[in-house]
């Protein structure tokens, strides 16, 4: 059978590497064909790709939602064509997907903020720095929404800054920002994997000791698991990227065989130093 795996992510984004690895694993485990494509948040291009999959009479489609509401019509078209279409990574409840597999970015954001508040790391009047690779990309925006819902009532301020998807530039911009605002920053939330994974290098360059500024954020990369183990990052969000892809494709396969999936699969866990080794092992393929 032929499945189309269509992502709004960028092939450049480390976390998508793991999502893709899950899809490949599934393809080799089951012997089915999985055609993959990345669309860098370009809605029009992603819609076109999903429609191309429908035109190609795919056995199943798994796709992410680049923007809430943007795939409503396409999901309908897939339904009409009787092609199972599974949503993963970013939910869009308004669209008629057969099922959703993944976490919820708004919830993740709320959890990070709540973590900082609950552990007493930030209080009223504090300022939180939230670097993100691409401001305006859905994941960051949804996370911000969750964070806002916690911080705003408590009078905690925050600022989102752009870090880009380029490793050297990420470090550079974060170093610049931290150098200037070191006094002002009470905590950091890394809204993406690349920024969270760069914390150690940034701290080292600016001369901030691990733990001096509390950090939470994404944790789907080896860089971050190491940072958690070494005390640079207090807590990191695990999204089960490989598993998400794998399960989404399984559901699509199942639906293609006539068994409708009547449930969503919610993934994700916030880990600290004590459990970080588990994820470090997963990521390094141990």
């Amino acid at each position: 059978k032929t499945f189309y795996w269509v992502s709004h992510g960028g092939p450049a984004d480390p976390v998508w590497t793991y999502f893709l690895a899950g899809a490949k694993q599934w393809a080799s485990d089951t012997g089915n064909t999985v055609n993959t494509s990345f669309h860098n948040g370009d809605v029009a291009s992603q819609q076109e790709a999903v429609r191309a999959a429908i035109a190609a009479k795919a056995d199943g489609i798994v796709t992410t939602s680049p923007d809430p509401g943007s795939l409503i019509e396409i999901a309908k078209e897939a339904n009409v064509a009787k092609i199972p279409i599974i949503n993963f990574n970013t939910p869009d409840p308004k669209a008629s997907f057969n099922a959703y597999v993944g976490g919820n970015n708004v919830v993740f954001g709320r959890n990070w903020a709540q973590y900082l508040v609950d552990k007493g790391l930030v209080k009223k009047g504090d300022h939180v720095w939230m670097p993100v690779e691409i401001p305006g990309a859905t994941y960051g925006v949804q996370e911000e929404e969750g964070i806002k819902s916690v911080f705003e009532p408590l009078g905690i301020t925050y600022e989102v800054t752009e870090a880009t998807l380029d490793q050297a530039e990420v470090i550079n911009r974060m170093v610049d920002y931290l150098t200037t605002n070191r006094q002002k920053i009470n905590a950091i939330i890394g809204l993406g994997d690349l920024v969270t994974g760069s914390i150690k290098r940034v701290f080292d360059q600016v001369g901030v000791k691990p733990g001096e500024i509390p950090v939470v954020g994404w944790g789907n990369s080896l860089d971050t698991t190491q940072e958690v183990l070494n005390g640079y990052v207090n807590a990191a969000q695990w999204q089960d990227p490989q598993a998400t892809s794998y399960v989404a494709l399984s559901l699509a396969n199942m639906a293609a065989s006539g068994i409708p999936p009547g449930f969503n699969v919610i993934t994700g866990a916030l880990y600290e130093k004590d459990t970080a080794q588990v994820y470090d092992n997963i990521l390094s393929g141990k």
Binding site: S37, V43, S45, E48, P68, G69
Partner: protein, 328 residues
């Protein structure tokens, strides 16, 4: 003058190279996956093609006049955001918001043109700076949040711009007609009118054109405004069709659009441009992207293929050109 057969005359046209490329491309994809020519896929490909195409058409004229515009992608993202922000805020009606967005785009084009013609700064730098400013503004005003767009359904403006209907098994969007209209009008403008002659002269030898009293600067400013406005229109059409208005959309379109224009045969250095060629260039590049997904090239290898095909097509193109110019 010698008489030549119809075929010989067709072969001698500069658009012949891109045309051959297009035919070869379609044939290859079709032979690999026959669904490639299914009505559904054709309709699907056309929808987005015409949106990018609108920008490429305006860019053709601008490049013929010897300038280019890197800010189109950012306007593609910014204009719908502006329109929906105004509308969602309840400030104005949708058609008014639409007009305001286009006017703002035209003003941005004017500023581009002003910098290029008055301050004599290369358009590369001006529009690169403008790209950053416009993209930045889109992000800043929305705080990065996408705008809601679904209230558009049923609005007459939305219907006029992107309403869809079926012609047999083909789903046609109204934007296709806008594209065809633009092809006809701009093609006419470039080849048949006095303004078209000025555009070509402005790109070919601005000094000479100026010496003949051609208002080179005015022509260029006008084309910058056209290109911004078309990018805005394309962005708005796309945002209504895809129900998404994200400040980041349109990223990287500038290079794709320029590539379309150049593949079609318009000179990168100005002075020579062809709208028909651009239409072929648009189809070549968009069909390539669609075909690659359809025949199942792995996601990570996508760029390798696009790049290799651009290089291969250019090589073929240059070979055809030389064969046809050698004339020995």
């Amino acid at each position: 003058m010698e008489h030549r057969s119809l075929i010989q005359r067709l072969v001698a046209k500069p658009e012949f190279g891109p045309f051959v490329l297009l035919v070869v491309e379609v044939a290859v994809f079709w032979s690999i996956n026959p669904d490639f020519l299914s009505p559904l896929n054709i309709s699907n490909t056309l929808a987005f093609t015409v949106e990018l195409g609108l920008i490429a058409l305006a860019m053709t004229l601008l490049m013929t006049s010897g300038e280019f515009d890197l800010s189109v992608g950012s306007l593609f993202g910014f204009s719908p955001v502006l329109m929906w922000t105004l509308f969602n805020a309840g400030v104005v009606s949708l058609p008014l918001a639409f007009v305001v967005a286009l006017i703002v785009a035209a003003i941005i084009g004017y500023v581009n043109g002003w910098f290029v013609t008055r301050l004599k700064i290369p358009s590369f730098l001006v529009t690169l700076g403008m790209l950053l400013v416009v993209r930045g503004t889109a992000l800043f005003v929305t705080d990065g949040f996408p705008q809601r767009t679904w209230k558009a359904d049923g609005n007459w403006l939305a219907t006029i711009l992107v309403g869809d209907f079926y012609v047999g098994p083909f789903r046609i969007y109204a934007s296709l007609f806008w594209f065809i209209a633009a092809v006809i009008i701009l093609g006419y403008l470039l080849t048949k009118t006095r303004t078209g002659n000025w555009i070509q002269a402005a790109g070919g030898n601005p000094g000479a054109a100026r010496a003949r009293g051609v208002q080179v600067d005015r022509v260029k400013v006008g084309l910058f405004m056209l290109s911004s406005t078309m990018a805005a229109l394309a962005g708005i059409i796309s945002s209504i069709r895809t129900s998404a208005a994200n400040p980041n959309s349109g990223t990287g379109y500038e290079l794709e659009v320029i590539a379309m224009v150049v593949i079609g045969g318009t000179a990168l250095t100005g002075g020579r441009g062809t709208i028909i060629g651009t239409v072929l260039g648009i189809l070549i590049l968009r069909i390539m992207r669609n075909g690659i997904v359809l025949i199942g090239v792995p996601g990570l290898a996508y760029n390798i293929f696009i790049g290799a095909i651009i290089l291969g097509m250019m090589a073929l193109h240059s070979w055809l050109e030389r064969r046809h110019q050698a004339g020995t």
